[in-house]
Amino acid sequence: MIIVKNLTKNYGNNRGIFNLSFQIKEGSCVGFLGPNGAGKTTTIRHLLGLIQNYTGSASIKNLNCKTDSVEIQKYIGYLPGEINFIDDIKGNELIDLISAMKEMSNLDYAYELLQLFELKPNMKIHKMSKGMKQKLAIVIAFMNDPEILILDEPSSGLDPLMQQRLIELILDHKKRGKTIFLSSHSFEEVEKTCDRIIMIKDGHIVNDSHIKQLIKEQIRKYEVKFSKESDVHDFLKKHHGTQVDNLTVLIELEQPFNELINTLSSYNIQDITKSTLKLEEIFMNYYGESYDKYRTL
């Protein structure tokens, strides 16, 4: 469905994207993760034909993204990362304009989406809040019920309730066999909606795997609660672990599980809990320092 081969766009000073290659099958939902400036939006711009000067190739439904962008647009719903509407018209006027330009025969689904996101578009766009503009952009991207959805940080600016509705909307489209390519900073959104994740850093793909596989490959962690504080100190003298509080130690399990059981059997243990590794932690493992910087932004 979407094929990217050795895609390279060099802006100089190591900025851009370099030799990106990936494929997205019809009906799959793929998350595109990376810190700011990693190359996510640049990659998406290639898919939409907005960037014309590059090496490598990008195609959607066997159509060349550079030369066949008009035909490709018939199948795509695109939500840009930065919402910049011409703001001296009303929201409903913009919906009317884009639907006419998309040659849509009716607006029933657009009205459904407006209701879903509780958006009243009958006001000038410059008077809308960031969240309202984001909702309007979501409605415009989804309203013609496209085969392929390319969503660049779709939950940006939405409150938690609306984020949840967006996740449900994406899941609904996924269920109906739509192909979804989703760039996001929200781990929850990606974890809940995507089957596969492509991670990008400094314009290079650093990981491309299924979410379940990704989590499985990571080191397992256990939180062990001791009965006595002295046991905690004694354990930490002999073994690796991170003290969480007076009685609790977080253990990264690298050895077989039995060995941990044997070691712990000499102590009085109150509780053992498996700490589920969140996608966010996996992300940190990949991005390390650059992710910490990104979090502080």
Binding site: L50, Q73, P80, F85, L94, A100
Partner: protein
Amino acid sequence: MINIALYKKEFKRNLILFLIFLGLILLYGAIVSAMFDPNVDNLSWIQSLQDLYPELLDFIGFNFAEITDYQYFISGYLYGMLFILFGIIYANIISSRLIYRYIDQGSIVFLLSTPNSRKKVLLTQIFVVQTYLFLLALSMFLVTSLFGEIFNPGYVDFGKLFYLNLSFFILLSFISSLMILCHSIFEGKKALGFSIGLPVLFFFLNLITNLGNTYKFVVYFTPFSLFDPILCINYSGLSFIYNGLLILLTLSTFGITIFYFNKRDLSV
């Protein structure tokens, strides 16, 4: 060739701006038309002005060769400087609103995320600009001819004034094509700077050509010299050649604009 829905929406969106300029044209057109007096004895103030500051009047393009002819009076008073400035300012504002702002703010991505090519979207915006420039020239014609007829019945030659304004529209079209070229191929402040700077530079070069034969060679460096109101109101053959040349230049500039706009990367 163009997208009708976008054309209609943009036409509506830019109507208020046009009405503001129409108001200014009405105001100045009415005042200047009322100032015309076919009785040469009542126009001694112009003669004194010409005796006192002949170079200044030449520089700003006020030509009063035949002050008792309404067409000469209007072309000297309004088309030497005032209406040309209105035209440049209006052309720049409207092409900024229709092209520069879309690209600079990134709003064009919503138009290009529809099954419409860059060429079609840009051509639609160009058509809106040209429609409004035509309406601007048309309102200048209507205002000057109707007020002229009201204040001085019988002195207005509608055909000559229409041709004068048609030629003015052709000039404005070319000036707007240069602005649109700058807006379409450059980014940010460069686009804005060149689109304002270039016409202003050409305009002042044209004013310099009015300073006498020493500076006549400058006519070859400004497209404004291809619009000569006196030639227009006399239906001079040269004015037809100038208009043809301007139309060719305009079409070529739009061709170049579309070619480069199709090739450029849009970071939107």
